[in-house]
């Protein structure tokens, strides 16, 4: 009896320990390949197994990233209800790998948050055989050797159009949009005469087998002549007021005192303080006009008197 009791007790302890240490959920993340090429279907599935005798809802997070995070595919969180001891298979991703995917290593990560625990799993995979990036630069220059790029040219200058790339034998389709919106097909390298003023746009589509087709453009401008912007400065700080250079107490108070002799009258100066302010003179002309009128009246008066006489 004692032995039976002991065995029964031991079983209970073992079961209890098991239930304590066993995960409430088992997860298994699977992808259909480790290496993918264009045209392959990428399928990721997750198998969930509820180890508990009661149901609950799990939340599943999943994301695919490549190394430089130029590709990030984060799914909205999935809520999955699991019944007691239920096993479920969920398709997380199912998409085709096309040629535009960047080659390299990718990582699928998931996190399953369940009743009382969090389970994580990751799967690495590679994408290969997709199109490579085509590196190409457009060059707009003033000389054939194109030692230095330019953006702005004077009218009737010759403009050299070219491209550079480390990849050989690129197929180039170039067209140039002129300021008047006419479009001309070009074969690079080439040169044009800048007859129209305004903005030109060179658009190039570069392609080569095994590379992503790349379309890029650059703009350059043509002006009648280089800009000559006038400097209208009128203050040349040197502690000397120089009215001849346009300095005065307003334009250059650093050099000219408020009531300086600077060819302009400062109304804030008191009477007579600024030599540039004209003194108010007696209006003699008014007096003269008045006197002329008086003289005229006097003549009439005198004539009137003399007539009587």
């Amino acid at each position: 009896m004692k032995v039976r009791f002991f065995i029964f007790g031991l079983l209970i302890v073992i079961l209890s320990v098991q239930s304590v240490f066993a995960s409430e959920i088992n997860i298994s993340l699977n992808i259909n390949h480790e290496i993918f090429e264009p045209g392959d279907q990428f399928i990721a599935k997750l198998i969930l197994k509820n180890n508990l005798a009661f149901g609950y809802t799990t939340i599943i997070e999943s994301i695919i990233e490549n190394e430089d995070r130029s590709y990030v595919n984060l799914l909205p969180p999935l809520s999955i209800k699991l019944n007691p001891n239920e096993k479920k298979e969920i398709e997380l991703y199912n998409f085709s790998i096309d040629e535009t995917f960047n080659e390299g290593d990718y990582l699928l990560s998931i996190r399953v948050i369940s009743h009382n625990s969090t389970e994580k799993s990751t799967k690495k995979f590679k994408i290969m055989g997709t199109l490579k990036e085509l590196s190409i630069n457009l060059k707009i220059c003033k000389d054939l050797s194109c030692s230095e790029s330019e953006k702005i040219f004077s009218q009737n200058e010759t403009i050299y159009l070219d491209y550079s790339s480390e990849v050989k034998n690129i197929s180039i389709n170039a067209n140039l949009t002129y300021p008047d919106k006419t479009i001309k097909q070009l074969t690079l390298p080439t040169s044009i005469k800048a007859e129209q003023t305004g903005t030109y746009t060179l658009k190039v589509t570069a392609s080569k087998e095994g590379y992503k087709t790349k379309t890029l453009s650059t703009q350059f401008g043509v002006v009648e002549k280089e800009a000559e912007i006038i400097n209208t400065s009128s203050c040349f700080v040197n502690s000397i007021c120089e009215p001849d250079l346009g300095e005065n107490y307003k334009t250059c108070p650093q050099d000219c005192e408020p009531c300086a002799k600077d060819n302009i009258c400062n109304p804030d100066c008191l009477t007579g303080e600024d030599a540039d302010c004209k003194q108010t003179t007696f209006p003699y002309w008014l007096l003269i006009i008045g006197l002329v009128i008086a003289l005229f009246l006097l003549i009439i008066l005198v004539r009137h008197i003399t007539d009587r006489l």
Binding site: S70, V72, T197, F236, Q254, P258, G272, F282, V302
Partner: protein, 711 residues
């Protein structure tokens, strides 16, 4: 009477009158020559009694000397006073040219020199007449009474352009291009949304490194704003001059005669008169930021002075009221004490308080003044110039005073780059300066004020390494995790981006079109997302009420629907005012829709767009100039919801659109409320220890309102 007799009478009367006119004219004010004749005194005998009503040689009192039965009045000739006095009362000893032994003498005074010699340079002198008509030197303090600009210096749509080389010149420009004046506001340019008495002209700061420069965003602003005149302060590279006159799309399309260059020395000439001036120490940039905003409010110049350059500014300090901000050299303060009309000293904090009191502002701008030196070193080639530059994300704070002055905002500054310290600083500063803030605009790149912090284990994020801090920390004041301040951040690859953004924000009404058009692109989360699914989803935010407020819209939903029309949709990106995107993102792209590379290689500039999205990483900070949020702002976006890392599927579009478009709230307030709603709704964010929107920062001015977005 015979006619000959009549003529004789007339001639006689005429002679009489002409004689009298001559006499009247001869009795006018004495000429300098006349004064000189009396220089040695009249030849009267010494024994005669001499009486002087002003009691001697007293030029400040008008008087009369009675001598030898004749009167000699003190009199003025221009500003020269001739002062009579009895020589025996005033001079003893041997005769001098000014004193004689004849009992009466005179002396001439230049009243200006007399008053300044006697009372100092703050005084002016003028020769005036007393009530009785006696001349005297009138010594008075010379004070211009008004602060006004010279209207002749500004055209209707004048713009100003300056390089980022000299911060003193840039800050000095603040009150020159943006100022408060009831009187000037009758003729000057006003900005929509700003108080009516603010005069404001766009000021663009371009980044320059030797002959390299960045003006891409500025040129685009000029294309939008179409200034009638451009004033350039200082020298510019020839390539930039050319760019200004090249027709769009490459250039600004200005005519040569619309552009002029001035020197910084011409600064004061923009004021017709000013009675006060702000003085800041030559090396104190932080004080200068707020000092320039104060100068703008008062419509007065600001100068940066120390003992070395004081000489240049003595004339503008003399007789004026001086606002001293912070500490200055003792030689400068001595000079001010002696020669200024008056002075008032503020610490930076006192000035901030005073500014808040005067403007009643509820808007704060946060800057790091050390950002003049903080930078990311990386080569970047602008689209509109041929030479690359390498000092990126620097000097953004230079744009702050222009925004602050244009919209009445107070600048607070911290030199810390630790988000916790900055967070504490903002809270403490708000208490200290006594502002009741609604808005927080961060004018700094993340290199100066972090936009994100590292996620911790406690945060429980599996994929994100960074958490947004702009709204979540700096804009959160009471530690309840709800954002309290309507928060936004303005920055760019260089100051050119930030300053043209500020100009766009202030002059929004001048650059927006008549229509407000939307582009809604909802591919969903994966290839299996159908059009119907996304249409159903969109109903939570895309409502008839919102649609009614638009002039037109394009709506694309479902993975394949979007993908099959992607070239058409891309072409709509540059013309849409509201862009909503729901899909994946990366550091440099809205994954399916458009990338930074697309924007630059196709020369795409945006139509003042507000861009809302669910897309990871679009504002991830790594110092990359091709960061998607950075490129959108550089190209004319007015607002961008950018994720600082792998983020979450936020549910904020409804609150943002309703608040911004239907309820008239600012974009910052609408966004703040949207974030708080996500917090309350506990939208799943992939971080077990944090709740709500912990990823999306608002890039742009949070004060912008929907009614500004249409002409």
């Amino acid at each position: 009477m015979k006619s000959s007799a009549k003529i004789l009478v007339i001639i006689l009367i005429g002679i009489f009158l002409v004689q009298n006119i001559s006499l009247i004219i001869a009795r006018g004010p004495p000429t300098p020559e006349a004064v000189n004749k009396f220089e040695n005194g009249p030849p009267f005998p010494e024994t005669e009694l001499c009486l002087d009503s002003d009691h001697g040689n007293n030029p400040e009192v008008g008087g009369l000397v009675a001598y030898n039965q004749k009167d000699f009045k003190d009199f003025c000739s221009g500003n020269i006073l001739t002062e009579y006095f009895c020589s025996n009362q005033n001079f003893k000893g041997p005769p001098t040219p000014e004193s004689t032994n004849f009992g009466i003498s005179n002396r001439t005074y230049n009243c200006t020199s007399y008053c300044q010699n006697k009372y100092g340079l703050t005084y002016r002198g003028s020769c005036s007449l007393s009530f009785e008509g006696f001349g005297f030197c009138n010594c008075t303090l010379a004070i211009p009474v008004k602060n006004e600009k010279d209207p002749n210096k500004y055209s209707k749509k004048n713009a100003f352009l300056i390089s980022d080389k000299n911060w003193r010149e840039i800050l000095s420009l603040v009150p020159l291009t943006t100022w408060t004046s009831e009187e000037d506001s009758r003729w000057c340019k006003n900005a929509y949304g700003a108080p009516k008495n603010i005069c404001v002209y766009p000021t663009l700061i371009y980044h320059r490194e030797g002959e390299s420069f960045d003006a891409d965003s500025i040129i685009y602003f000029f294309q939008q704003y179409k200034p009638d005149n451009l004033t350039i302060i200082g020298n510019t590279p020839q390539e930039l001059d050319n760019l200004l006159i090249v027709k769009p799309k490459l250039g600004a399309g200005l005519k040569e005669e619309q552009i002029k260059k001035i020197s910084f020395n011409d600064y004061f000439s923009y004021w017709k008169s000013f009675n006060s001036i702000v003085v800041v120490d030559y090396d104190n940039y932080a004080n200068g930021l707020m000092g320039s905003v104060w100068a703008s409010l008062k419509n007065i110049p600001i100068i940066f002075v120390n003992s070395n350059n004081l000489e240049n500014y003595k004339n503008v300090i003399d007789n004026r009221k001086i606002y001293i901000i912070g500490k200055i050299d003792s030689s400068v303060s001595d000079y001010i004490n002696k020669n200024a009309k008056s002075s008032i000293s503020y610490t930076l904090e006192e000035l901030q308080k005073e500014y808040i009191k005067e403007t009643n502002t509820d808007k704060i701008i946060l800057v790091n003044p050390n950002d003049l030196d903080l930078k990311v070193i990386k080569r970047f080639l602008p689209e509109k110039s041929t030479k690359s530059f390498s000092e990126l994300f620097s000097k953004i704070s230079l744009a702050a005073p222009f925004l602050a002055a244009g919209k009445y905002e107070v600048i607070i500054d911290t030199t810390s780059t630790d988000y916790k310290k900055i967070d504490a600083f903002v809270e403490n500063k708000i208490d200290a300066i006594g502002i009741g803030p609604e808005y927080l605009t961060i004018l700094a790149s993340p290199v100066s004020i972090p936009i994100s912090r590292q996620a911790t284990q406690k945060d429980g994020c599996e994929y994100a390494k960074f958490i947004e801090v702009d709204g979540r920390f700096y804009g959160e004041l009471d530690h309840d995790n709800l954002v309290d301040l309507s928060t936004g951040r303005i920055f760019g690859v260089s100051i050119s981006d930030a300053s043209s953004y500020v100009a766009r924000s202030i002059f929004i009404k001048d650059i927006v079109s008549n229509n407000f058009d939307a582009l809604i692109v909802l591919p969903g989360y994966g290839t299996s997302t159908t059009k119907d699914e996304m249409i159903r989803f969109s109903k939570y935010f895309w409502t008839p009420n919102i649609i009614n407020q638009l002039d037109s819209y394009y709506f694309y939903a479902g993975w394949y629907d979007v993908l099959s029309r992607i070239f058409k949709i891309k072409n709509l990106y540059d013309n849409s005012n509201l862009i909503i995107y729901y899909n994946h993102g990366s550091k440099t792209a809205f994954s399916i829709l458009i990338s930074s590379y697309d924007l630059s290689s196709n020369h795409i500039y945006l139509n003042n767009s507000i861009i809302m999205d669910v897309a990871c990483l679009t504002c991830y900070w790594s110092g990359n100039p091709n960061s998607f949020c950075v490129q959108n702002i550089r190209r004319g976006a007015l607002g961008f919801q950018g994720a600082v890392d792998i983020s979450y599927w936020n549910r904020e579009f409804d609150n943002i659109l309703n608040g911004f478009i239907l309820e008239g709230k600012s974009i910052g307030t609408a966004y703040k409320e949207a974030r708080n709603q996500d917090y309350k709704d506990n939208i799943y964010n992939f971080c077990l220890g944090l709740r709500g929107d912990i990823f999306y920062a608002w890039i742009g001015d949070p004060t912008i309102k929907f009614d500004e977005m249409r002409k």
